[in-house]
């Protein structure tokens, strides 16, 4: 072979020409019939010298958009065989070996078994390897069944997007079923179009990128400002400028939405932590420093329910978060009622002492859980309805776990209002909150109301514990994180009003989240707390002073 390299190359060139003719896109518009790939020609080209190998890979990439899926799969196989050094080139054609160095294999074109003795195993050069890998990526993207393989193919293409015709990506994009991958393909197409030599196509691509704004789109457009065309071509410049400003605006809107969303979710947590406090404080004047620990009990009850599901009903484990709702409520409520019955009922009219007593209870609960169950963070399984999210606009993603918390808070609010406004217990609670002595005179058993209301308020904290599980880490000390914030909510909202608590929670949550990106998390907390302290100086009764006994 070595003695006639010129002839050989000519031979291969002829073969290649054949292959290309076969692979060339069908220009006849009437019948989108897919021309068959000339398998022997391709196999022969891959056995050729490096330049021919590379040309064959490139030709395959160009023709892939119109090739049959079966042909693509075959081409993909032989290319992979080539990269794995299992392709033996004999005088009579290429043979695919099962393993490198095998004596026998299948004929590349026909699949018939035949000996590979004396065959040369071609080695890919760096340049050719890249071309072949791109071709493999194209084939995988167009023909692989597994979305992951298609994703990997797309990643391979992305590295050399300029060499891949738009038609290939367009075909993949229309055929793609996976929404995430479809979006990714779209982005690669846009990126390729942005660096296209055709100015009209570039401007179109800029418009298309601006249609789907995101941080990535912005940086992609920004990168084009360094392009020579930006200075030379006024139309390009105008399109790019308008595209950048459009994406920038959209990102600002999306970020604003994200801040609002985060604020709402933080406010939901605050509201749930504080609602029970507000009821208890308004009714009994008791500052319950153990409220954070009732949240912790709710979270641990949720963990218990999860473990129970794991033992008894592993199939339905994703439902544990729902099943935990009543359990956490009852667990926290029972502990609360016990605390009220054993300790607090002796301390009414001595609010500062009840404050110390609830601190002792919280110390006891934290350390009890610490000793019994350890200090480590609990591991929660995230059911699908609280993991992931939905990209809504620009970079704004609606994460399900926060949506869960928001929905949970809304449910808690509805439940609280329902109980306070529409049940006999709620009527009693409101009566005792407004005038304890008069309510007692009218025959309301105020002590029983106190106990039930304390249980209800503790139960609300337990519910907050459920909602926290998908968002925060759960450990014995978790309650301390919320106690100061939730007291601020109660104080700001006004004692004993659920709606005041809601407004205050939204205000504090919003202010915290709004200041955070500007000055950092600690400064945000400090500014908000100082603001509340100042506000309380002006309105000691809070935003919505409740009518209560004097």
């Amino acid at each position: 072979m070595a003695e006639a390299p010129g002839r050989l190359i000519r031979l291969h060139a002829a073969l290649l020409g054949l292959a290309l003719a076969a692979l060339a896109p069908g220009t006849a518009g009437a019948a989108p019939e897919r021309p068959p790939v000339d398998r022997p020609a391709l196999a022969a080209a891959l056995c050729g010298p490096p330049a021919v190998q590379g040309q064959a890979a490139e030709a395959l990439i160009r023709a892939a958009a119109d090739a049959e899926t079966a042909d693509l799969a075959w081409a993909g196989n032989i290319l992979r065989v080539l990269t794995e050094r299992r392709l033996a080139c004999t005088d009579t054609g290429a043979v695919i070996l099962d393993r490198p160095g095998a004596a026998e294999g299948a004929d590349a074109a026909t699949g018939a078994s035949r000996p590979a003795a004396g065959g040369r195993v071609p080695v890919l050069g760096l340049r050719q390897r890249a071309q072949v890998e791109t071709a493999l990526g194209v084939v995988a993207l167009l023909s692989a069944r597994d979305p992951e393989a298609r994703g990997a193919g797309l990643a391979a293409i992305e590295r050399r997007a300029a060499g891949v015709p738009e038609a290939v990506l367009a075909r993949a994009e229309t055929a793609e079923a996976d929404p995430g991958l479809k979006r990714a393909i779209m982005q690669v197409m846009q990126a390729a179009a942005l660096s296209s030599p055709d100015p009209a196509r570039r401007i179109g691509a800029i418009r298309a990128v601006a249609e789907a704004p995101s941080g990535a789109a912005l940086s992609r457009l920004r990168a084009l400002e360094a392009d020579p065309a930006y200075g030379a071509d006024p139309a390009f410049r105008a399109a790019l400028d308008s595209g950048i400003s459009r994406v920038g605006r959209a990102i600002a809107v999306g970020d604003g939405l994200a801040v609002l969303y985060n604020a709402l979710s933080f406010a939901s947590i605050l509201f749930m932590a504080a609602a029970g406090l507000a009821i208890i404080f308004g009714l009994m004047g008791v500052i319950n420093l153990a409220q954070g620990e009732f949240i912790m009990i709710g979270a641990y009850a949720t963990y218990g329910v999860q473990e129970l599901f794991r033992r008894l009903a592993p199939g339905a484990i994703d439902l544990y978060l729902i099943a935990a709702i009543p359990v956490a409520f009852l667990a926290a409520a029972l502990v609360g009622i016990a605390v009220e019955a054993l300790i607090l009922r002796h301390l009414y009219r001595r609010p500062l002492m009840s404050l110390l007593a609830t601190w002792a209870v919280s110390l006891f609960l934290v350390n009890g859980v610490r000793v019994a169950l350890g200090t480590q963070n609990l591991q929660f399984r995230m059911p699908p309805y609280v993991s992931g999210g939905l990209p809504l606009y620009a970079d704004f993603i609606v994460t399900w776990n926060r949506l869960f918390a928001i929905g949970f808070a809304a449910g808690t609010l509805a439940l609280t209002l329902l109980i306070l406004r529409a049940t006999p217990l709620g009527l009693d609670i409101r009566a005792v909150t407004q005038n304890r002595d008069m309510a007692g005179c009218l025959g309301i058993r105020t002590r029983r109301v106190d106990r039930l209301a304390f249980g209800f308020g503790s139960g609300l904290a337990g519910l907050a514990g459920v909602a926290l599980c998908p968002i925060y880490s759960v450990n014995p000390g978790m309650g301390a994180t919320f106690i100061v914030d939730s007291f601020m909510v109660v104080v700001l909202g006004g004692v004993g009003t659920v709606l005041g608590t809601l407004v205050a929670a939204i205000g504090i949550g919003g202010a915290n989240v709004a200041i955070e990106p500007l000055y950092g998390a600690v400064a945000a907390k400090v500014i908000v707390l100082v603001g509340i302290i100042l506000f309380i100086q002006r309105r000691p009764e809070g935003l919505f002073p409740a009518r209560r006994r004097r």
């Binding site: 404080f281 004047g285 500052i287 420093l289 300790i343 002796h346 301390l347 009414y348 009219r349 001595r350 609010p351 500062l352 002492m353 009840s354 404050l355 110390l356 007593a357 601190w359 002792a360 209870v361 110390l363 006891f364 934290v366 350390n367 009890g368 000793v371 301390a480 106690i483 100061v484 007291f487 601020m488 104080v491 600690v522 907390k525 400090v526 707390l529 100082v530 509340i532 302290i533 100042l534 309380i536 100086q537 002006r538 000691p540």
Partner: protein, 372 residues
């Protein structure tokens, strides 16, 4: 401080050195305790027990001063501050700054956090802190200033009772968050430690330890006697009146805001003094002294010892902290349970703290109104 006393004078008693002794003797507990404290200080000097014991006695004395400062506002004015750790920390931080600045000036080695932050020198507000009298004035003045601003705003708008407690807790929490930042120039979350020199003497030597302990005990005795003189005075009676019925006192024409503000600032200064004495003995200060839990613990000492009795505050602080020293070493798991059990016992069964056990005193009227 005493409101419109000139407009509405209360009957004055004759004053003089003879009355002083009689006044102290009116609260025998204070007299006994002050004598005992001075006796202990003398013992420390004469017997020279192990430095660990000396140091523990000094720290306990600092805590007792802190407890007296809180009892002054809680027991006698009815204002429960859950943020007294803030004033303690102000004193402690300024003292630590003085020690660090002093060591820097003598040895020329910049403190750890300065190197850590990559700074060349100490920030501007450290200027002059090598001067001990200036540091003392700064510590007390800063504590009083913070207390004044916070107290003025709160008392003027009549933030009372539980509200005040919650807001003071938020204040100390805010301060903790601030001090956890590393760019405050005060050591950040690591705080300041490794003090090497006190007035040019090496820290940790037996003599310095003894000196600090004796100074703390002497300060405790002075604070105790001074506070007992205060509460025995006309101002003290106004304080009790304000605690029991502020509205009535105001209606009678006394400026309760000024009274409360004055005592509040005094209490803050005493708490800062406790911090000043505490930090060189324990050898470290970090933002954890500003944790809301620690401030609640101060109230717990007072409640356990007995609210509204200065001696009770001292006994409570010494007892709880001695137990804590011992138990956190002997059985750390059990300590929180014992503490919470003590609190519940006192709160439920002994409204005046452990002093009830000694039956030294009947329940004061303002507690007798309880529902038990």
């Amino acid at each position: 401080m005493s409101g419109n006393a000139e407009t509405f004078p209360v009957p004055r008693r004759r004053d003089g050195a003879a009355r002083l002794g009689a006044r102290i003797a009116r609260d025998p507990l204070v007299a006994i305790l002050s004598a005992a404290i001075l006796g202990i200080a003398l013992c420390l000097v004469l017997v020279r027990p192990s430095p660990y014991l000396v140091n523990a006695a000094g720290q306990l004395a600092a805590f007792a001063i802190l407890a007296v400062s809180l009892d002054l506002v809680w027991g006698y004015l009815g204002i429960l501050s859950l943020g007294h750790g803030l004033f303690f920390a102000v004193g402690g931080y300024v003292c630590a700054m003085h020690l660090v600045a002093h060591a820097y000036a003598v040895t020329g080695i910049p403190p750890d956090f300065v190197q850590f932050m990559g700074w060349k020198t100490l920030p501007w507000y450290w200027a002059g802190l090598t001067n001990a009298p200036y540091a003392l004035v700064l510590a007390l003045g800063l504590a009083v200033l913070v207390a004044f601003v916070f107290g003025l705003a709160s008392f003027r708008s009549r933030v009372n009772g539980v509200y005040f407690s919650i807001i003071s807790q938020a204040l100390v929490y805010v301060a903790m968050l601030l001090m956890f930042r590393n760019d405050t120039g005060l050591g950040g979350n690591n705080g300041m430690t490794g003090f090497s020199l006190l007035f040019g003497w090496p820290m940790g030597s037996p003599g310095v330890t003894l000196g600090l302990a004796v100074a703390s005990l002497a300060a405790l005795a002075a604070v105790l006697v001074g506070a007992s003189l205060l509460v025995g005075s006309r101002t003290g009676r106004l304080m009790l009146a304000c605690r029991d019925d502020e509205t009535r006192l105001r209606t009678l024409g006394y400026g309760t805001t000024r009274l409360k503000l004055g005592i509040w600032c005094l209490s803050a200064a005493i708490a800062a003094l406790a911090g000043i004495l505490y930090v060189p003995q324990v050898g470290i200060i970090n933002p954890r002294v500003l944790a809301p839990d620690l401030s609640i613990e101060i109230a717990v000492w007072v409640a356990i010892g007995g609210i509204g009795r200065l001696g009770g505050a001292v006994l409570g602080a010494v007892l709880v902290n001695a137990l804590k020293f011992w138990l956190t070493a002997a059985m750390p798991e059990a300590w929180p349970f014992i503490l919470s059990g003590l609190v519940l016992l006192v709160v439920l069964a002994l409204p005046n703290g452990l002093l009830d056990l000694a039956a030294l005193r009947l329940k004061p009227t303002w507690l007798r109104g309880g529902t038990r």
